[in-house]
Symmetry: C2
Subunit: 360 residues, 2 copies
């Protein structure tokens, strides 16, 4: 897998509105799966009996799974967090589940992803410095438990755990909110445990963008240059360029896929909302500079019609385009780095109109 990389999000074993073939044609090399969702439905044991997530969903390329923690912590009023574990009720049927560092590791071992993430504590914002410090330190302790469990699984898979991918890597996660000294402490402790890669969590949650860039950049500096550095849940196309400039190698975000289904599209000329009446008779493609299937075959007028008529094909075609824009941006970043023209590329990308709205 080439880096810097963007990972489309396949929450429930599919990147919404796509088929795997679409992703392959777009040059997707890795997708993200959500442990929380897969654990509840169809269940990690069902998936393990199918031979793991790759075989179950028919995707023969890398998969990264999150730990499930982020979704569990988002279940306000349906969860209790202790030092031992997070206890929560399913949003589907109210059933009670426990997600400990060990269980998060076991579940991901059953899923058999290529990269597993440690369970970390994500805090609700706004948070005090003390809250951020406490959650960060608990995350470090949980990371150590996740690592210990993975090493146990690697050494000798216990009978009650089915390991479907013996080559699974595990990434630690640096927390600490917007406090750089806490981020530094977290980075040092996480590196001390030792992982195949390192993620930066808890950013892009409402803070000013400049602060996000600053913390991501400073934290990336503390992480081993030889290991992948993954900024979780980020972001806009500009965020990708700016954070690559600050040392980030991997990203994931629902923005291209979710926005596409809502008719919000990224183009080289600016962003647009396809439901806008001005596109009703616009015979041009979404983006004249794009070579994706949608732009090669269909007009804005047709895509607007599909959106307004509620045709799911509209969501699928929009998703193809937005993912193409994201993956093409990553390809351009990689090319620019290879040709040592990244600084120039970055300046031009940020000067380009891609951030503007075409609707106003």
């Amino acid at each position: 897998m080439q880096t810097p990389a963007f990972m489309p999000v396949g929450t429930q074993g599919v990147v919404k509105a796509t088929r795997h073939r679409d992703l392959e044609e777009l040059g997707t090399e890795i997708v993200l799966g959500n442990t929380y969702h897969l654990l509840l439905r169809p269940g990690d044991e069902v998936i393990a009996r199918r031979g793991g997530l790759h075989r179950f969903i028919g995707w023969n390329h890398p998969i990264l799974t999150d730990s499930g923690g982020f979704q569990v912590f988002s279940l306000a009023g349906r969860r209790v967090i202790t030092e031992e574990a997070a206890e929560f009720r399913s949003h589907l049927d109210g059933s009670l589940h426990v997600l400990s560092p060990e269980r998060a590791t076991d579940v991901q071992a059953r899923l058999g992803s290529d990269i597993a993430m440690v369970l970390d504590e994500c805090i609700a914002l706004p948070a005090t410095r003390d809250q951020a410090a406490a959650a960060m330190r608990r995350s470090v302790r949980w990371a150590a438990r996740c690592r210990r469990r993975l090493l146990e699984l690697r050494a000798s898979p216990p009978g009650d755990v089915l390991v479907t991918n013996s080559g699974q890597a595990q990434f630690g996660i640096v927390q600490g909110g917007l406090h750089q000294d806490l981020r530094d402490e977290s980075a040092a402790a996480t590196i001390d445990i030792g992982f195949e890669g390192y993620a930066i969590g808890g950013l892009s949650v409402g803070e000013p963008i400049a602060q996000m860039y600053a913390v991501a950049g400073e934290t990336a500096k503390r992480l081993p240059a030889a290991s992948p550095r993954y900024l979780m849940g980020v972001g806009t196309p500009e965020d990708l360029v700016e954070c690559v400039a600050r040392g980030i190698d991997m990203f994931d975000c629902v923005m291209p896929t979710r926005n596409a289904r809502n008719g919000q599209l990224f183009t080289s000329r600016g962003r647009l909302n396809i439901k806008n009446a001005r596109y009703a008779e616009d015979d041009g493609p979404l983006d004249p500079e794009c070579g994706c299937y949608t732009c090669r075959h269909h007009s804005r007028a047709y895509l607007r019609h599909l959106y307004v008529a509620g045709e799911m094909t509209g969501g699928a075609l929009n998703t193809l385009h937005n993912l193409s824009f994201y993956l093409d941006t990553m390809r351009r970043i990689r090319d620019a780095i290879a040709f040592r023209t990244f600084d120039k590329f970055r300046q031009e990308f940020l000067r380009s109109a891609s951030r503007l709205s075409l609707d106003s």
Copy 2:
């Protein structure tokens, strides 16, 4: 376009849950568009300004449009039918519209389909013989008006009508319910007007299947062998085989696409409903004899998961399979006819398990 042919239904300018490329890969040579829906949204004039339906939707193969009549007659309580025209209120916004034979012809001329249908009167069932006779005779008068209008358009397109396809063919429709003498009268009168092809309407609306086959077969005998004979809104895979045996050349039906979105799948081993719990751990393909993308890449277990999780990709993959089954059936029918083995094929197809349920 090869016959016998099955036309997938693209109600609103798209065959639901598919992309045109899917249809091309499945060997689809013609799709059906619904004039009623397109007239209301985005509107026939918008489509005409885009250069017609083919250019608007980006489909470079034949399209047949219905007249809009069937949908209008289904708008119980929202329509008034007179000798002059059908007046109806849109199901979308309640706006008032008039669909006369001339308007149905004009709208289809603007859409620029390759085959336009005449406006006919579809009756609610159960109907008396007198009602069936009256509707059939009005349909004949309307057919004459549709033809006259088309010939006017061909001779000299009036300024207020934009003809986007100068080579448009027009098919008449034989009505008459289940009364063979009325069907015969309708066929004779419709042939007398003269069309490029002839359809049989008003069947497969709840009558016993044997009666449907009988009326379709007897009526097909009355139609010119040199012109295409189109049985509207039919049917199951068995219906296709049985009605080809009775002289039918063209079919359309929402069954493969609608059933697919509801998880109901056609296979060579029988029909199945993918939401059935028995498929939760079934690693086999939907149909071991099918070569479609879905069957080549995905298991029943995965398709069930996508259905249960509400992922639209499930509907898309199911649709691909059902259309593949239908189009493959038509291909096998054509091959059997070419090799003069159709009778044998028909017997084997009807003896096969494809009608049975795999769920019970």
